[in-house]
Structures are given as structure tokens and as C-alpha cells.
Symmetry: C2
Subunit: 390 residues, 2 copies
């Protein structure tokens, strides 16, 4: 199980015809309580999809009760019609949950997420979602395993993670295989917990977790318009964990999902961890790591199993971080190839054939460190992204 | 002719074995006066090659008399040994010019440029250059046409430009096919003129010209460590042109060379001009254009002849420029595909098969405009840059 591992949650995933393949494309996660605390982080891209515009309002209200997610269309730059589609989707979910009996559910308590092609979201798209929400709600189950598949786009595998705490648990599902570069969050992620924590504690823990996980995943430098990471807490365990312990566990879940996203990045043949050490600040370490992660010449070299340390230095030289470019060490997979402004060990000592690649950059400017996860630039990346919408 | 078109200049290009192909790889341009005014702009990358470190000192002194350029090795991150190689190269040129008779030439009046692989610059590299400078000087000629070929690396064609003014002329040669993204300058360029202008006037004109030409060429987002644009004036025409007229002519020459560099970018199958209009400032227009030029998903889509306007909006949404993302028009090759936050004309009306591609972005936020030149992301780009050093 995944988002239903913690007590107090049901989920479902069904196929409604949004994907031309006929695969599942509509998912729902419901928090059955007794508490309904939540925290959400959104893309920092100013170009935001209609579900983001809607969900920001829901998140501001607090008390989110459910999140409905579709693949097969981003509903971004689809105008007022697209926003109305999002609103109608939330209303349909609220009606279906209200029809279960119990209290009345407001549409404003339903988060909406969409993923797929920008510009896609016509009448047929709306009808397929809204008309099928009753069937989706009918499929809700506390032991559901179908939701993770329904949010995938070009992903090749489902991404899930679970953490067992002392009397409480965290469950999560994610999608993402391209357009992976964060502002705040990236990709679609739903995390559930039965821990008893309020909105503020969840928000602190979620921001702390995303800051060191999804925010440091930078597969292709391209920030999405639809990213949303949702954390829902049911309180069903009755246990209030130590806040720091919960935050560390949540960060672990998010790092686990980040590694799964990196490993499934479109067309990649190497998973590259760029570890920057000796930085004057964490911000400097992140800036330096990101400059390398976004350098196409570096990324193409790794694809060719070429430990091209010169391209690392050319990349970090464009940053404002504090360091002396002529006093930097650069290692590939444990072999130090550059030391003190010149070549060190022969590049022939370095084997880049394994998929997992580690680049270490020692700046000698301080005591801070950060690791940025990225991928190589491959023929398959170019192919998949030139054919995406056709 | 090229850099020797203006009166008062000689040049030469010979093969000294730096390139494994045996092609010409060492060039020299000499200003024979009567005046020796100059202006130089350098890469803004903090990781700078030894010839850049040397040439900055020469440029600060003024009165540059010659520029010697090699391909087949960048002499970057080669330590003190590499810097000494650059100094010895300048000394050898100074000695050879002094030996011609006339006044004594100082090494500090000789600019040095290098291009090729970072980290390359050993004893053999030094010997091939320094020992062959006398032969290079002996080949100097006022009607030389061999210099432009000797500075090429992965370039497929020579790049030259000439402008005929009223009694004065400008000549230029350039190299550059990858790592094309500017801070101040990009690639190696030597521009000569027989106009009678002082250092200050040349500097103003050169900065104005590079700002609207090389600085707006962003083929792959990767800034080089060795970029240098040199302007030498001999005053041999005896004519002092109107400064504005000269600046406009110089900008024209630089734009001409920029277009040639764009057209020869490694592996590219489309030359893309991103024209941003309606911006609140020129800086905003450049920032918006550059965000699109550096978006791999956009660049891969163009390779696939896919007018993916959604990726344009996702890219510009990451900028701080003043505009409303939901009030932007985006056109591809004259067909408006996005209007007011939604789809406009069908993408099927848009033909992206021609190599030249025009993307117009209307921000509706002001009256300023800028055009950024870039290229698509192709299989050949990945191939060429994964195999570069092997």
C-alpha cells in the first residue's frame, strides 16, 4: 500500500480515457479523519496551471479533505474554461463524498492536481473527469493500490514510499519523469500520515523536507507549471510524534521519492549526484551544484562516459558563490581529476560506465555542503522530448 | 580578405601540430599602425584561461600591437606552467616583430587567445607554439587569407565580415561553434579597422556592439572560459569617422558574425530567433528571451518540428520580468498559437521544417524589445559533445 498505509485514508485510481493508451488516469485520495490537517507546497513558476490556482485557495483555507489528480492533460493555459473544469471537478468530488453520508463536504476542501500537455483541457477532457468522479468515489478503498499508477505520465514505474514511526506512519506516492526542476516543489506528490499534528507543524516539516529533497532534484532545468506536493494528516493513530523526529522521517520519505524520480528521468542513462562541499553557505553549495546540473556540455559528456572536469569548472565559474576557481578539487566517482587549478589523476583511472555517478566538488571556502541530483543529456532525452506532443 | 582588409594590418595562419588533423592552428594579427588603439572584452566567467589572465593585463596597458591565437588547446586550468606558456608565446611574438627592424616590441603589447580542450597545455603544446612563432611571423602578409582557418575548432566554416565606411573599413574573423553563451563576449573574435579612433572611442563602440550581438547569442547556455573579442585600430586611413556611425557599423559586423556562429552551432538543425516585444525594459526582454533559449524541452521540441508554445510559457514563467503570464501572445513562424492565456490558432498551421525559426513573444508590458539567437537541441549536439574529448 502507499497513501493508504497510514490509518484514516482511502484512495482509488481508474481509467477514464484521458490517456490514449487506456491506462488509469484519474486518482483520488481521501482523508477520513478524525483530524484533517494539511500542508501544501506549489511550483514557484509564475505560469501556473488552473489546478494550481484552485488548490492555492483550498490550501489557504486549510482543512483539505481530499485530493483528486488526473494525468493526460495539464489544464494549464486553458483559460476561464479550464479553471471552471477544475472547479467542477472539485464540486463533483465534494458531492460524491457528501453522498456517502456523514457531514457535507465543500468543494473548497478538495485539492486538484493535473499533469500532461500544457494547453490540453477541452470539453471532452472536462466530461471524462467530471462524469467519472462518482465511479472513482465508488472505487475508494482503505487498502487501495491503484492510485499511484493513475497519476503517471511518461513515468516507467510507480513511485511510492512508506515510513513506520513509533505508533504512526507516513505513506506517499509521486509522479515525475521530465520537467524536473524545482522552485519550491516539483512533480505531483501526495503524502499521508496518521500522526496527530496540526497544519502549522505539518507546514514546517513539509517545507524543511522539500528544501533538502525535491528542491535539490534538477533533472533537466525545466520547471513545471503544475507541481504540487500535498501532505494530509488524519490523526487516526492518536499519536503526536516529536516534531523533529517527524520532520526527519518526512525528509527521508521525500528523499526516497526524489531518488526514484531521478532514476526514472526521461531518457537518462546516468543518475548523477553532485556533492558540493567546503561552501561558505548552503545557498552557495546549491548554486554551485545547480550550475553543473544545468550545463548541457557536462551532461552530454557524462552520457559519453567522459569525466570532463573542465566543463565542471567552466560551469561553476559562472556562479556568484564564494570560492577561488584555482583552488578547487573535482572528483568523479572517487578519483580526483582536478586539484589546485590543474589536472590531477589521469582521467583514464575513472570509470563512468555505472549508471550511478558521483561528482564531488570541494570549494575550500567554508563548512557547508549540499547534493544536487541530476541526469545526463542523452539521445533518448532529445527523442522523447521532441516527440512528446506528437 | 578579412582582418587585413583595413589598411595597416598583416596576418598569418599556419599549422604547427596542435590539431591532430594537421590543419592550421596558429594565427597572428599585427597592427602596423601608424596608430595602435585597441579595445578588448573578455568572458565574464570567473574560471578564466591563462591567455585571458595575460590579455587582461595587456588590455589594461593599452597600445596592443598584435594578437596571437591558437586552436587545439584552451590552456585553461593548466596552472603556473600554463601561464608561463602564454607569457613565452607573447615574448616570442614580440621578439619576432622586433627582429623585423623598426622599434622594439614588448611582450606586454601582445594579446594571446587560446581555444580547445580545458586542461590541455603541456610541454609539447608549449613547444609547438613557441618554437613556431618565427615561422608564423615570417608568413605575415598584408593580403593574408589564412588566419581565419587557423582559429577554428569544431567549426565547419570560416567566419569573416567586412564593412566599407566612408574612407575607412572594418574587417573581422571569428570562431565558435559550441559553448556559446555570453557574459560579456563569447568565442574568439578579432576585428580590425583603419579608422582613426582612440582607445576610449573603440571601447565605447565595442561594448555597445557586443551588447546587442554576441551577448544575445545563446546557443547552448554554456559560457566559455576563453572568450575574447579584440578590436584593433591602425588609423592608417587617416579618417576619423563619426563615432555613432562607426558604432553602428561595428554592431552590424558583430551581428553578422553572430548569425554565422549561430548557423554553424554544433549539431544544430534549427537557427532560432526569439524576439521578445512589449517588455518593460530591454533587460526584461533579454531575460525572457534567454529563459526560452536555455529551456531544453523547448529546444528539443523545435528539433522535432513541434511548435510547443506551452514550453515557452513554462520557461518565461520562471523569470522575474514584468508581465502577466495570462496576457501573453506567442507566435511561431508568424502563426499566433497562444493568446490571452489560452490556445489560439491550431498548431497544424505552423510549419517548422525550415532551418530558420522565428518565435515572437509579446508581453504587453511596455515598449522594449530584444532578440536572442539560439539553436535546437538535437541528437547531433548530444553526440558531438559526448565525444568531444575522446
Amino acid at each position: 500500500m502507499t497513501v493508504t498505509t497510514p490509518a484514516g485514508f482511502r484512495s482509488a485510481g481508474i481509467a477514464v480515457g484521458l490517456k490514449s493508451t487506456g491506462k488509469p488516469d484519474l486518482a483520488l485520495v481521501v482523508n477520513d479523519g478524525p483530524e484533517r490537517a494539511s500542508a501544501v507546497v506549489f511550483t514557484s513558476n509564475r505560469a501556473q496551471a488552473n489546478p494550481i490556482l484552485w488548490s492555492r485557495k483550498v490550501a489557504a483555507e486549510g482543512a483539505a479533505r481530499a485530493v483528486v489528480l488526473n494525468s493526460g492533460g495539464a489544464n494549464c493555459f486553458t483559460g476561464d474554461f479550464g479553471y471552471e473544469t477544475t472547479r467542477l471537478t472539485a464540486e463533483a468530488v465534494a458531492s460524491a463524498l457528501t453522498a456517502e453520508g456523514g457531514d457535507t463536504v465543500d468543494a473548497e476542501a478538495v485539492l486538484v492536481c493535473s499533469t500532461g500537455l500544457i494547453g490540453a483541457g477541452d470539453q471532452a477532457f472536462r466530461d471524462k473527469i467530471v462524469n467519472n468522479v462518482p465511479a472513482l468515489a465508488a472505487a475508494l478503498a482503505a487498502d487501495d493500490t491503484t492510485a499511484p499508477a493513475a497519476i503517471l505520465t511518461t513515468d516507467s514505474v510507480e513511485k511510492t514510499a512508506v515510513h513506520e514511526g513509533a505508533g504512526w506512519t507516513i505513506g506517499a506516492m509521486a509522479k515525475g519523469a521530465g520537467m524536473l526542476a524545482p522552485g519550491l516543489a516539483t512533480m505531483l506528490v501526495v503524502i499521508t500520515t496518521d500522526a496527530l499534528l496540526d497544519d502549522e507543524a505539518l507546514d514546517r516539516a513539509l517545507r524543511r523536507a522539500t528544501d533538502v529533497s525535491f528542491d535539490r532534484l534538477d533533472s533537466d532545468g525545466c520547471m513545471s507549471t503544475n507541481d504540487q506536493v500535498t501532505l494530509l494528516a488524519s490523526g487516526a493513530s492518536g499519536v503526536t510524534p516529536d516534531e523533529n523526529e517527524f520532520a526527519v522521517a518526512l525528509a527521508g520519505v521525500c528523499e526516497d521519492l526524489s531518488a526514484q524520480l531521478q532514476a526514472d528521468a526521461e531518457g537518462a542513462s546516468h543518475d548523477i549526484d553532485i556533492e558540493v562541499r567546503g561552501a561558505a553557505s548552503v545557498e552557495d553549495a546549491v548554486e554551485v551544484g545547480r550550475s553543473v546540473a544545468r550545463n548541457n556540455l557536462f551532461k552530454a559528456a557524462i552520457f559519453g562516459n567522459d569525466p570532463n572536469w573542465g566543463r565542471v569548472l567552466a560551469a561553476i565559474g559562472t556562479t556568484d558563490a564564494a570560492f577561488d576557481p584555482y583552488q578547487v578539487d573535482v572528483s568523479f566517482n572517487g578519483v580526483r581529476l582536478c586539484h589546485a587549478g590543474g589536472p590531477d589523476r589521469p582521467v583514464t583511472e575513472c570509470d563512468l560506465t555505472p549508471r550511478r555517478t558521483r561528482v564531488e566538488i570541494e570549494l575550500f571556502a567554508g563548512t557547508h555542503a549540499a547534493t544536487i541530483r541530476t541526469n545526463d543529456l542523452t539521445h533518448d532525452y532529445v527523442h522523447e522530448n521532441s516527440a512528446y506532443s506528437s
